[in-house]
Structure formats: structure tokens, C-alpha cells
Symmetry: C2
Subunit: 410 residues, 2 copies
Amino acid sequence: MTVRIGLLGFGTIGSSVYALIEKEHDAILEATGVDLRVGKILEIDLSKAGVAAPAELFTSDFESIMADPQIGIVVELIGGIDWAFRYVEESLRRGKNVVTANKQLLANKGAALFQLAKDEGRQIRFEASVGGAIPVIKVMRESMIAADLHTVYGIVNGTTNYILTAMYRGEGDYLDTLARAQQLGYAEADPTADVAGHDAAAKMAILASIAYHSRVTMADVAREGIEKITAGDVQYAKDLGYVIKLIGAARLIDGRVNVRVHPTLVPAAHPLASINGSYNAVYLRGHAIDEIMLTGPGAGGIPTASAVVSDIVSIASTKTAGFLQNCSCYKVLDFLPDDEVVSTFFIRVRVEDRAGVLARIASAFGEHDVSIESMLQKNRGTTPSWCSSPTPREREASSRLSTRSPACRW
Amino acid sequence: MTVRIGLLGFGTIGSSVYALIEKEHDAILEATGVDLRVGKILEIDLSKAGVAAPAELFTSDFESIMADPQIGIVVELIGGIDWAFRYVEESLRRGKNVVTANKQLLANKGAALFQLAKDEGRQIRFEASVGGAIPVIKVMRESMIAADLHTVYGIVNGTTNYILTAMYRGEGDYLDTLARAQQLGYAEADPTADVAGHDAAAKMAILASIAYHSRVTMADVAREGIEKITAGDVQYAKDLGYVIKLIGAARLIDGRVNVRVHPTLVPAAHPLASINGSYNAVYLRGHAIDEIMLTGPGAGGIPTASAVVSDIVSIASTKTAGFLQNCSCYKVLDFLPDDEVVSTFFIRVRVEDRAGVLARIASAFGEHDVSIESMLQKNRGTTPSWCSSPTPREREASSRLSTRSPACRW
């Protein structure tokens, strides 16, 4: 069976998809019977492409891809929301299936696109939108179909993990390590989407929607970035036996959904503590499976292209649209607001060197029904003292770093 | 779409499959459109079943399942090779698709069954045969279709991992911990299949066949069990900074396949070192993906049933037989014999307390072109001294425990 794709975008990922299809064409044909071909490539700016492709494949005319009856699958890799939405919408209307790596598109416009795909009897696959080469979407939608998932959490942003890993290794403060990440191409010139947690929030919205069969958008995700974390924070956490990671967590608690992204103190012995650099890791917990974890490279042209190609072959191999393929949000669950979620918090308090000051802090916590799990005082005097304050109602395995807790703001 | 299954066997896994289908029926229907029903159950001995099912579902007549045109999928959970082979063969011939958890069947009779499935245009799915709830088969066959895998390794037997974990924790010697594993149901009354590595070898044969598209059977796997490991071995390894694990490894080296299962010294900081109890973990390494790891419960009725149910829904969702579904062994690769594989070995030598004896050991190793990576001498005198000897040609990340190395047998 010949499967011809229209490739939208020929930047890092697009050109990697092209190269990978060229390299693995014969192996894919032998293993699956799919004769995979790139029919057309929509791209004007070829300066970002890492590989060459025949000039006759390129077009600047999206309509020529739509009008080509041989092209059955459109692969959207241009990014952004507006144009990507128009292209994907038009592709579905014109009878094409769609593969995309665009997490922002799905986290913001997913509802409309999945409904359209269902109405048109077409598929949208989006493995590459979360976790790079890690097949978390297929695993959740197909392998976990009977698992009754209740918790999804992990490290889903490589840029922040690279920065936090470098800070943990003592390679500098936040701005130093961010600058190095930018030099090495791990962070964008404007790093906001990554460091403020928007990218991770979009990914967690996608994972939560799949896990709980109820629509979760970016706006539903409580979000806190890593911009305020100092080398001192990282060192204090280390002294307490923790590693600071940007953790995304989506939970189903008493039928309500809570999704959040924030820096978290992970115990040094926890496997997530050793997920370093641009690697990602996702834990899936469900009633039937206890806990499954997947780790792997969270980004990179070829790893992401590997996920895109597997989506293309999966579309070619599956029967019906609307059947495992698209977001099956058949429920409308309520959200559990983030301020109703009880957590362990990590609090740093800088105090004057006066007798009795720690006792006053402790009693203030007590008055507000906050119990202290562990406390570390360093450099008696003007330097910070720290305390970790879990509530009696719920103790989570990992602590939440924050200075926002009302009980601790005084 | 109504999908009716014939369930062969109603032991731990079979009854868990029944229970999980009952529990998740509505969720699966909503999410995928598959109305999943158990049509008939072939079982006479109901003493092993953990749950009840309506009496009218049970039959002792396999032919009644074959003759039922409403049953499209046969789920083989009786185990063993002879009867399972007959039932699976007959099911395929009679136009049924097959789901099985039977690793011994596939590792020994896979070639004939996959060929038959291909000829008949039917699918065999077998996610539950390796790694319990971990979706390693689907991930390898579908998500890694363009990954160009060259290494698959990990912990694929829960019984031995339970025993080795208990020994590492100082809970006793091999026979003590085996006895406790038997009491708790983690090991069979005759534990040979697990502790001698047969179970792990069957699983590695399956994984290698999928990874390299070339048939690997049980007989092709070099195998060494954990029966000779003493509490002393475990302690010495610990002192050297290692954890002893039963590791399965399938490698593609210069176009030749090497598959083996043996106790291995894993560095304590390696993630595999912290896979404890009956958990399993599989690493997949490929040119396009760097490294993906999956961990999760390697056994248990409900986790295994979760994999079986996902296979059933996957069959109902996919188009063509022979297309991603069956073993695509379109190559016939040579094997790299295990004695041609250069490894790091872990060697324990008990010596007399005489001056110069260590020098003689070291020079003997040198004469045989064996270099010593690290050496630990304990209790000078009659107690053992140890050395780890990697060769200059190849250093592997993990060492191989063995006293079989010719260079060290003197």
C-alpha cells in the first residue's frame, strides 16, 4: 500500500521526518507493507532545513497539497496556532488524515479539531506533541484502554530539565545556565514558553484529556515556572535530600480533575530525580496496572521524527476514525481548583538573628494548622532558614516548592 | 461494534481478564466503540478462578467455540505448549484472531503460528507474554517502526528479581529467599523455569525477533540462571558498588544477533539497579531514538489482563492482518555466538595466604590479555579476593557475573 504524505514545514523536525522516511523506507515496507512516500513539502524558507530534498517536492501552495488525491495524510510541523489550525482544519475537511507535533494547537484548539475529525471520519495523531520519542500517547490511548488511570505525572519539558540539571550540578545560577542552554540550542531566544511552564502545561492538558476522557485546556492547568529558582534554592534542596524538578501532574481525585505544573522537590532516591538533561519521563498510574513509567529523549529532530513516522504508519494500519485515534472526551468532569489541593510545601524564611525567632515561626505555622515535616537551619544569623510544611490532611511523596502558601507568607 | 471473545482458561489471568472486561466494558465502549463481550469460556477446573462468571458461559468443548460465528477472537490463557499450539492453530484456521500471553508457545512455535496467521489473514497479538502490564510489544512494533533498534535489554523475570532484591536487602541466602518467594506466590513449586532463566530466555527470544526482524528461538539464547548466586556474591558486589540482577540482553552487532540471559553486576546508580521486587524494566536503544525505557509490574493477574484486553481492542481497531500485527521476520540474520562476545566479567578467587599470590594472579590475567578494572581484597588470608576483568576490546556498561571465563579458571 502506497501512503503519500504532504509535509507542512521543513525546519528541524520536518527535514528530520523527510530524512527518516528516506532512511527507513525499505524497512517499513518490509515490516508493515506500507510504501511510505513524501508527496509534497510546503516550505518557502529552506534555511532551517538540516537535509536536502528534491526541489520538485517543494511548494508554496497549500492548495496543491489539498488538491492532490494521492496525498492521504498531512503532517503539520509548522508550529504556532493560527496557520496550523487553518491548515489542519482544511486538511480534515478535504478528507486527509492529520499527524501533528503541535502541542499548543491541540491544547488550545483540540476540541474543535477532534470534533471535526470525528465528523469527517478522519484521524488526528499527535504522538510527537508530548515527550519527543517517548510513545506516551499511543501507550495511554491503546495499551491503557482498560487501566483506569487516575494519575499521570512526570517531567515533560526538556529545556527546564536541562537548566535544573545544570543548576543541580553547580554549573551556575538560573540566568547563567539559561544562557548556556540558549547557546546550545536547548532553549529559545525568548525562553518564556519553556521556563514559565507554558509548554509543560500544554502537554499536561493533552495527557490529562486522554487519561480522564474529559477536555482539559491550557487555561485549566495551574502553572508556575522555574524563573524564581536560585542556585541557593537548589543547594538547600540538595542538603535536604531533594532534587528540584519541574513536575507536571494530572490527577483524578474523587471524580474531579486537577492538573498542574510547578517546581517540585523530588527525593533524591526517586527515579525522577535521575532524569537529567533534556530527557523526559512520564508515570502512568491506574487501578489495573499499578504504575508504568516511560522515559526517553524529550526532544530533538530525529527522535521527534521517529514519533511522527510511527503515527503515519499507525494511521495507515488502523480501521476506523474516531476509534482509539482521536481524543475520546466523552465525559465532562469538574475541575478540582488548585487551591483546594492540599500539598507539602517547601518554604524558605530569612529571619533576623534574634532569640526565639524560630519558636515564633513554628507557633505561627501551628496556629494555621500547618505541620512541619523537616527543618534545616543554615548559617545562624542573617542567612535563610528553611522548613518543609506538609499538612495533616494529605502528604504527597514530593514536596512543592513555593513561597505562595498563605500560611507562610508572613 | 460488538466483539465477542472465546476465553481459553479461567485461572488467575483468565478470570482477571473476565473481571476486567466486566469492569471496564462501558469505558471501553465509550472510548473506542468496541462493545466487548466474553462469549464462551473453556475451563473445567474452576478451583483456580478468583472471580465468578455465569455458568452458561463455561464449556468443556473447544469445538463449540470454533463453531460460534459470533466469536471473532480467541484468547489463549491455558499455558504450556502442546494444547495451546493445537488450539491456537485451529483458531487461526477457523478464521479467528488470537490473543495469547504464552511466551513459551511463541518462543518455541512462533514461526509456524505467525506464518499460519499470515496465510489466513489473521492476527496474533501477545503483549502479555513479556513484561506483564508493560506495553513493550506494541511500543516495539508500532512506535519504534522507524527507530532502527540495535539493543534491547532489561529485567524481564519478576521471580528472580524478587529473589535477588531480597538477597540484596540481606533477607537471606538464595534458598531462603526462594522459599519465601514460593510461600508468597512469586515462585512456582518447581521454580526451574524462572530461576534457571528459561522464562527470561523465552521473553528475550520474542523481543529479539521483533527488534531485528529475524527469528530467534529459545535455543538461540545463551542462558545462565541465578541458582549459584550466594549471599556472599551479593554482598561482595554491593561492596564494589553493584547490584546483581538477572539481565536479558539482545544485541545487533555488525549485522549479527546475540541474545543472552545471565546474572549481571549493574552499577548501583544505574536505573535498573532500583527496579525491585516483581517489577520489570526494558530498555530499547535505536539509532533514531537514543534510548527509551519502560518499567512496570511484570506479572500479576490484573496487570497482565490489562495487556490482554488492550490486545483485543487493538485487533478490533486495526485493518489488515500481517500488517504490524504479526512477527515480521523478513530477514534471516546470523547469530553471534556468545563465546565471541567480549564482556567484562566478575571473578571471585579464593587464595592461600602467601606472599606474592596476588601478583601471580595479576600476571596470569595479563598473560591471557585480560585487564583488571577493579579489585577488592577482603579479609586477607583464607577468604576470597575479587577482581573484575574487562577486556581491552570492549567494555560494557554492566559486568557479567561468571566463574566460567577460561582466563580465570586456573
